[in-house]
Amino acid sequence: MKEGRPRSFYVLAIFFAAYVLFLYGPMIAIYVLSFQGPQGGLTFPMNGVSTFWIAKLFQGTGIVDLGAAFRRSLLLGVIVMIVTVVLSVAAGMAFRRKFKAQSILFYSAIASLIVPSIITSLGISLEFRIIDDLIKAHWNENFETSMGLLTSGLGAHLTWTLPFGLLIMFAIFNRFDPRLEEAARDLGATPWQTFRHVVLPIILPSVIGIGLFGFTLSWDELARSSQAIGAVNTLPLDLQGLTTTVTNPDIYALGTVISAVSFTVISLALGTIHVLNRRQAAKGSDAGKGLV
């Protein structure tokens, strides 16, 4: 099988290239269109080039209070990211031993991933409504609501990010060599020292990957937020609201700004992972390279 590439390679390479074009083509179209001139419309051809529509978003004269929604989404995204990383790493460590309720947690995570988002969202909203009713009936008649960005909203997002975090931890520890920890223990390290100085540095690139998933999934989350976020909107919810009413390119401008944040976070995370991997390769241990 050494006589060059088979014909199927070229057929599939073209197929793959077409798929990538299909993935990126439409998105690139709206990034370009968000730089329409002030007179420009929703479609090509471009009517001049300007940053008019993007500037308009930040002036707050547009249709939504972009600044407030932006800050809310960012705050929620960062909190979701931190909680996802901490809880996933902790639970991932727990799964390396047998423990009771192991399969309950595993199946909860899988179910949370595949039960349609609208059902989870509806359930959370019912739960909080019932809690509100109880508080109003028994403690405080003037109580408004316990639903909100950092209560029901945070919970809704976590049901989406934690399963991904847990599955990534499984993948990490499938490849992890437990002899490294044994060595640390034999040298007298406490469990915390073993974790802090041996386990964590090795899994750090993947942990940053979990953070990346946590933030981006929350930043773009829509279906689960829809019923559970309470009175305020996140940025994707505002954007979705605009799809039915807007006839100007500001919707593309908003799309471009949201994507810019996504791409910044993605490149930061991937860059950090790359640097950490290179450092590990350069300065890492010689474990497994001989001297049994």
Binding site: S8, L12, A13, F16, L23, Y24, P26, A29, I30, L33, L42, T43, F44, L87, S88, A90, A94, F95, F99, K100, L105, S108, A109, I110, I114, V115, P116, I118, I119, T120, L122, I124, S125, L126, I130, S152, G155, T159, L166, F170, A171, G188, T190, W192, Q193, H197, F213, L217, W219, D220, A223, S226, P236, L239, T243, Y252, G255, I258, S259, F263
Partner: protein, 319 residues
């Protein structure tokens, strides 16, 4: 604190000011099972509070009564009877809920078939034809990046292409293939399927690719040496070994489309009825028990599909 400090701390605790107070107390040995609870407990609590209990509430509320503006906590089957209204009277015609589920299943099937076809060949190309690990990583990343960006943006991205004055229509008119712009390109079943395939093929590619890279390449060479044609190798070696990935990807795509209401709403111009959309409509009308009843029905059907599919493969073994 660096290593030397750590060692110092071990030797004589209290020497480094300000540190160690948290762990100064003689550490009592915790039992391994207690540590496991401590580690896994927080995540379990989140799932309990925001997933399992809410599901229970959905089931309970689906049996409550309601009027125009509030929930009435009294047993009633009204959520369900309202949902199936006219289903018997209109026979042999389908009632609204029947038509809606038929439409949902149709969309589901189309999207599943298309994502499976595209996902399979993309994964096949990455797993078998891209030999260098670096290229494999790079190209996989290329497929993953859109997954980290907003779904709504990836939906509205089709508007400038498919709209009445969009690129596709103006291109076709210019070349003389059509005289009137095509109306069915946007806000139609076509655009819904297109957008769903665009958004969710990723969920097919990843598990199928994972199954394929685990296939021992010598098996394929053995098939080749034994005289199998490329097609025979594909059907008898690659597809059976990639089956777990195919099933997991299918479960993902099917459950997403079954419950979808956003893509169907935005790309269907809010005109197409689907299972997830009914729930949203009922919630907006504050008819929570009816919404919950619909959620229970959707959950039951989704669960049925997953059970049928997971008969084929043990999900837990494949992770």
């Amino acid at each position: 604190m660096d290593m030397s400090e750590e060692v110092l701390q071990q030797a004589s605790p209290g020497l480094i000011p300000g540190s160690g107070t948290a762990r100064a107390a003689k550490p009592t040995r915790l039992s391994p099972s207690f540590i496991s609870w401590l580690q896994a407990g927080p995540m379990m609590l989140v799932f309990l509070a925001f997933f399992l209990i809410p599901l229970v509430f959905v089931v309970i509320v689906s049996f409550w009564d309601y009027n125009e503006y509030q929930l009435l906590p009294a047993f009633s089957g009204r959520g369900y009877t309202d949902t199936f209204e006219g289903c018997i009277a209109q026979l042999p015609d389908l009632c609204t809920i029947g038509k809606t589920y038929l439409m949902t299943l149709k969309l589901c099937f189309l999207v599943w078939a298309l994502t499976l076809f595209i996902g399979f060949w993309v994964a096949y190309f990455l797993a078998f034809h891209v030999k260098s690990k670096t290229w494999q990583m790079g190209l996989s990343l290329l497929c993953t990046i859109p997954f980290w960006t907003s779904n709504v943006i990836r939906m509205i991205a089709w508007i400038p292409l498919l709209g009445r004055n969009g690129l596709v229509n103006s291109g076709l008119v210019k070349t003389g293939l059509i005289h009137q712009p095509l109306e069915w390109l946007l806000f139609s079943e076509f655009s819904v399927v297109l957008a769903l395939v665009h958004l969710f093929t990723f969920f097919m590619v990843v598990p199928i690719f994972n199954s394929m890279v685990r296939i021992d390449k010598s098996l394929i060479e053995a098939a080749y040496d034994a005289g199998a044609t490329g097609f025979q190798t594909l059907v008898n070696v690659v597809i059976p070994l990639a089956k777990p990935g195919i099933v997991i990807g299918s479960i993902f795509v099917i459950t997403i489309v079954m419950g979808d209401f956003i893509t169907i709403g935005v790309m269907g111009g809010q005109q197409i009825a689907a299972a997830g959309k009914i729930i949203e409509t009922r919630v907006n009308a504050l008819q929570f028990p009816a919404a919950a009843a619909n959620a229970v029905i959707l959950l039951a059907i989704t669960f049925l599909i997953i059970t049928m599919m997971s008969r084929i493969v043990d999900i837990k073994k494949e992770l």
